[in-house]
């Protein structure tokens, strides 16, 4: 049972975690790798339907180049419980293709230890190459 929000599985406060997750996406918008890595714990791992527990080095080579084609993230929902959180966003590429995903974050000692991306509708999902354009 959690009492007044404190428990053994809760590193850092809720507002800080929310800001860190918003900064995680802001780093992609700004193409700022140092900003991104400052948020990550040692031993960071990333998962997606394409990526099975890849480490930071592989993430840097395989995923970070995508930042060049990302215009912005509109974060729709953030739910945090202890050191676990889920974020749903609409992302837009430079040519206004939508990718809507939900991502899981795990925090450890106040930093992001894990990020797992689950694909929603849009260009992340290969069948949806005619994803809707950005709302005007």
């Amino acid at each position: 049972m959690l009492l007044f929000g404190s428990s053994c599985g809760n590193s850092g406060n809720r507002a800080t975690k929310e800001k860190m997750m918003r900064d995680y996406y802001a780093a992609y918008e700004k193409k700022d790798w140092n900003m991104l890595t400052s948020l990550l714990a040692d031993g960071f791992v990333f998962n997606s339907p394409y990526d099975d527990h890849i480490n930071l080095d592989t993430y840097h080579h395989r995923c970070w180049p995508n930042s060049a084609n990302i215009k912005r993230f509109d974060i729709e929902r953030i739910v945090i419980e202890g050191d676990d959180a889920f974020v749903t966003y609409n992302g837009y590429t430079n040519d206004d293709k939508l990718f809507r995903n939900t991502e899981y974050f795990k925090f450890q000692e106040g930093k992001i230890k894990e990020n797992a991306c689950y694909f929603g509708p849009g260009i992340s999902f290969p069948d949806n190459t005619n994803a809707p354009s950005i709302p005007k």
Binding site: F86, Y118, D127
Partner: protein
């Protein structure tokens, strides 16, 4: 058993389904139940009328489908479910898992 949990106007979303109603959901999604052996629920976070669930699902022949689903409640019933695909057989490139 499923239907009493759902609110009037229930909608379902996934990469393959855009705000489908209960009638389309029954026709398109429910037949999948015949091939599902079990769900192991790994994470469940509830925040007011919203929740996220991550599970490992297993088909009758032992294939994995790992997803995260969003639930929205209204008046004590499930108004919306949105399925986001993780690794496994939902994702077309991963037919071998």
């Amino acid at each position: 058993m499923l239907q009493p949990l759902l609110a009037d106007g229930f909608v379902f979303n996934s990469p393959l389904d855009d705000n489908i109603d209960i009638k389309v959901y029954i026709e398109r999604c429910w037949p999948n139940s015949a091939n599902i052996k079990k769900f192991d629920i790994e994470k469940l976070i509830v925040d007011g009328d919203e929740a996220f669930v991550t599970y490992n699902g297993w088909t009758n022949n032992g294939k994995l489908f790992r997803n995260t689903e969003y639930f929205r409640f209204k008046d004590g019933k499930i108004k919306e479910v949105a399925c986001y695909f993780g690794p496994g057989i939902n994702y077309p490139n991963n037919t071998g898992k």
